[in-house]
């Protein structure tokens, strides 16, 4: 087994033991962990905390502060040099420039157990990956391991991903190591325009992934929905209106099962949608479909709609902005992959944002992978240098994968930003988080330090050399 020098090198950049940081970072089987309590005991700064019984606990939320960080809040603002982030009780207590009341030098002075010296490293909120299949799939192509869709089910709107999510799934562990701390997980439509109900999850290494079950209902219009509904957009739009009316009747106790197309369970599931208590995510690409959805919003004013994908959204950006409907869009789709995406361009998001639309980057599932969210966001920054293209500023791009998807998901101020009161989802990076060469050094979710290991890192460790002179590789673990 090769020594894992590089991680130790990375470590040194972040490191500690300079009089302000207590304890020693080491690479353990679970990634970067803090060891050496003996040192801690010698460290006067922590003594108070130790005496009061506040030992850092790897499995529980820490109260900690990160100093000397390049802090990006995630709210659209540009990064702050020499910033400080303070997390207490699993939540952000404060984040901002040192010198604005956060310039203390000791753990005690921050009221925390542990102080990390980032030595200039970047610190951001964790990535919020909107519209993933995280927790639903072991292997995409292995049908029995894939719970993303339920083609043979009698139910559709009633399907609930919260009941299928596996917190121990490898894709959750791999995405976590890539800096993703929160996500929405959605089902795929298979037997109806209604895909079912999606959930908001955290990617913490624990048994509870679901933060909010049944956070939204996903309906698919456009070409895909038209095929599912019977072969035409006429059919999908009729099916949607009929379902909303049947659900309204059900909610009023006026539902007649025999005369209805929905099953009882599906009609019940759509109740919160028609009341505006559950968000309705609507997948559409073509400008005309988007306008038709906005018109439906006027017909059913209580619907809390979110547009999904919207490749041609830029053509009707003013109308989307006026309707105040947010969008979760693919960042880099630029091909006429279908006849409803003829106007697709990487400038779609930039143009919509310029028009005042709230847009998150999303849909990073399958081979696109949630962990590549930052790469896609970075690409939108690159567009700023391309004549006639519309990109995002760096701060907007980070927000498009943190606070904006969190807000669209119903968690404004609670997730996706380093603002007081938000969850302590914090990532320390070894470089500009949107840059290709960067990766997380340490990740906290709800203030809990997270392991970064997974099936991939274990294979990586085993195959750093091909030496089998003593024993087969199977013994190297």
């Amino acid at each position: 087994m090769s020594p894992r020098k590089p991680l130790r090198t990375a470590l040194a950049r972040l490191s500690v033991l300079d009089g302000t940081i207590l304890g020693k970072w080491e690479l353990g089987k679970r990634g970067l962990v803090k060891r050496g309590l003996g040192r801690l005991l010698l460290a006067p700064l922590l003594l108070g905390a130790l005496l009061s019984g506040a030992l850092p606990n790897l499995a529980a939320a820490q109260d900690f502060a990160i100093i000397n960080a390049k802090v990006a809040i995630g709210d659209g603002s540009e990064p702050i040099e020499n910033g400080v982030v303070i997390v207490r009780g699993g939540k952000i207590a404060a984040a901002g420039p040192a010198g604005s009341g956060h310039d203390a030098k000791t753990a005690d002075s921050f009221g925390v157990d542990t102080l990390y010296n980032a030595r200039g490293a970047w610190v951001t909120p964790g990535i919020f990956a909107a519209l993933t299949d995280l927790g639903l799939v072991d292997v995409g192509g292995v049908e029995e391991s894939n719970d993303t869709s339920a083609q043979g089910s009698q139910f559709n709107a009633a399907l609930d991903v919260a009941r299928a999510i596996n917190p121990a799934a490898q894709d959750i562990a791999v995405s976590r190591a890539g800096g993703v701390t929160r996500a929405s997980t959605a089902p795929l439509a298979a037997n109806s325009i209604f895909a079912g109900q999606g959930a908001i999850i955290d990617l913490g290494a624990d048994r509870a992934a679901v933060v909010q079950p049944r956070a939204f209902q996903l309906v698919v219009l456009g070409e895909g929905g038209a095929r599912l509904a019977g072969g035409s957009r006429m059919a999908s739009k009729a099916a949607l209106r009929n379902a909303l009316r049947e659900a309204a009747a059900f909610a009023k106790g006026a539902w007649k099962g025999d005369a209805s197309l929905l099953t009882r369970a599906d009609a019940a599931a759509l109740g919160p949608v028609i009341q505006g208590k559950q968000k309705l995510y609507i997948h559409a690409e073509r400008a005309a479909d988007i306008l038709s959805i906005l018109a439906m919003g006027k017909e059913f004013p209580r619907l809390d709609m979110v547009l999904v994908s919207a490749s041609e959204g830029w053509l009707v950006a003013d109308e989307i902005a006026a309707a105040r409907v947010p969008v979760i869009a693919d960042a880099l789709d630029d091909l006429p992959s279908s006849f409803e995406q003829l106007a697709a361009t990487q400038s779609n998001i930039g143009r919509m944002v310029d028009a005042g639309v709230t847009v998150a980057i999303g849909g990073m599932s399958g081979i696109e992978q949630p962990r590549n969210s930052a790469q896609y966001a970075g690409n939108l920054v690159a567009l700023n240098k391309v004549p006639r293209a519309s990109g995002l500023s760096w701060g907007e791009a980070l927000a498009a994968i943190t606070s904006v998807p969190a807000a669209i998901s119903g968690f404004a101020g609670k997730l996706g930003a380093l603002t007081p009161g938000a969850a302590g989802d914090v990532v320390i990076w070894d470089g500009d988080p949107l840059e290709l060469s960067s990766a997380p050094l340490q990740i906290f979710i709800d203030g809990v330090k997270q392991p970064l290991s997974n099936h991939q890192t274990r294979l990586r460790d085993r195959y750093q050399d091909l030496d089998e002179s003593e024993l087969p590789k199977a013994y190297d673990w």
Binding site: D334, S338, Q346, Q369, P387, L434, E435, L466
Partner: protein
């Protein structure tokens, strides 16, 4: 004439490859001439260019070299010189200031289905897999290529792709011949064919063939079935190749071309154990695997791949979408490089082809984090010279070397940064993309009169 001369160069390269595996085919040169006379010949002609000097940029030559503040000269479609600020610029050259910018050879994608699975991806455009028999060596990918696929234009403008290999799909054990194209729009596929490029031959192991044909109740339905069908096909091909070859047989002609070393094998394969078996099959029948494609487990057998001289054409980080991709890791490229094996970054995707430089950069960084430092200049080779070698076109393109085709990308920043994009692209010395000129970008017939025609995309 240019075509025939180039193909003889190709023959020399393939002879060398054969001798490495202890085989030799004295008839190769003669047979290569036959390949040059193959039907559907390239009609590609370079577009006019002006003698150009790129001045002051950081140059990555594709062959591992880096020059800060360097100069690249090209004229008449060829690279004339590459050097530092002391390289003299002949009279009559237009000078382009590259200060703060970067120059690389044109990007090459060794694994694309553009044109064969064209956008829009409707059933009528599904022309990449002849899924009617597990072995279809008789089909040629070029007969499916739709030159109006808008994907070609995105690969150019966003990806800097100047050459690409279009492969048949992987449903069949033997999918057919590939075709190598210059990424220059044309009314015909012949007008895009890379002059003098050898043909490739697509093979596939693993899940796809056994699934597709097993589901039809025929062989192969297992991995052992895959090998049995392959071996019998090679045995029959050898018999044909050793005979007078007088009866025209499209399938056997292609297989004989592989056995002669004129047609390069590109083998879709994910698992390490299976690649090792394929290498032995290649020994059994006396051909060479030029590259394993996808090869997510290559890092487990870098030693075997190095010994075989076989490249791994891989993604940076795809994994887990099918059982045989379950052990894919982002450090695959770096571990292969460390083991001395050949790395190629490929796309297999109409979106990924727009970001091969970015995928390479991610793979480089994943290596750095485990202590494998690979210089930027070498990483550039993963999507320029290395694919050119595996495609047999490295004598003509793939690096900024005097005499090679002037396939050149001027990037507005380091191509290994997410914040950089191609600014200007020349193919054979002709300026075919310039982001400062709205009209200097290709728009396919399909996109005319549609919303977004000529947009930045």
């Amino acid at each position: 004439m240019r075509y025939r001369a180039a193909s003889i160069l190709g023959a020399a390269a393939t002879l060398a490859a054969c001798s490495a595996s202890g085989e030799s085919h004295p008839a190769t040169l003669a047979q290569q001439a036959n390949v040059a006379d193959a039907p559907y010949p390239s009609t590609y002609k370079a577009y006019p260019g002006v003698p150009t000097a790129l001045v002051g940029a950081t140059i990555y030559d594709g062959a591992g070299g880096k020059i800060e503040g360097g100069r690249v000269l090209f004229a008449d479609g060829k690279v004339v010189g590459v050097g530092g600020s002391d390289l003299a610029i002949p009279a009559g050259y237009q000078q382009i200031d590259g200060t703060g910018k970067f120059v690389t050879p044109g990007v090459i994608d060794i694994h694309s289905h553009l044109g064969d699975y064209a956008s829009p991806s409707v059933d009528a455009h599904s022309d990449g897999n002849e899924m009617t028999s597990p072995t279809t060596p008789e089909v040629w990918a070029e007969h499916s290529v739709w030159p109006q696929d808008p994907g070609f234009t995105r690969a150019l403008a966003n990806g800097g792709v100047t050459s690409l290999q279009i492969l048949p799909g992987s449903a069949n054990l033997m999918g057919g011949r590939s075709v190598t194209l210059k990424n220059v729009p044309s009314r015909t596929v012949q007008g895009m064919k890379f002059p003098g490029a050898p043909y490739g031959f697509k093979m596939a192991c693993g899940e796809n063939p056994k699934r597709v044909y097993g589901a039809k109740g025929m062989a192969p339905s297992t991995r052992m079935g895959n090998f049995a069908v392959n071996r019998q096909t090679w045995i029959d091909a050898k018999q044909y190749a050793d005979g007078p070859r007088t009866n025209r047989d499209l399938a056997k002609e292609t297989l004989a071309g592989v056995l002669d070393g004129d047609i390069l094998v590109h083998n879709h394969c994910y698992r390490a154990d299976e690649m090792a078996l394929v290498l032995d099959m290649a020994k059994e029948f006396g051909y060479k695997v030029s590259a394993f494609h996808h090869a997510v487990e290559s890092y487990k057998i870098g030693d075997l791949l190095k010994a075989a001289g076989t490249c791994s054409a891989i993604w940076a980080d795809w994994y887990g979408f099918k059982m045989e991709s379950y052990d894919g890791i982002p450090e695959n490229a770096a571990l292969l490089q460390q083991q001395g094996a050949c790395v190629v970054i490929h796309s297999d995707d109409e979106n990924g082809i727009q970001r091969l430089n970015q995928e390479a950069a991610k793979a480089q960084a994943d290596g750095r984090r485990i202590g494998i430092d690979i210089a930027d200049a070498q990483v550039i080779g993963w999507f320029t010279l290395n694919p050119a070698k595996a495609m047999g076109i490295d004598a003509m393109t793939g690096s900024l070397t005097k005499g090679k085709m002037a396939d050149v990308v001027l990037w507005n920043g380091n191509p290994l940064s997410v914040y950089s994009r191609p600014e200007k692209i020349w193919i054979d010395g002709a300026l075919l993309y310039d982001y400062t000129d709205p009209k200097r970008r290709p728009v396919s017939d399909f996109e005319l009169g549609q919303p977004g025609e000529g947009d930045v995309k």
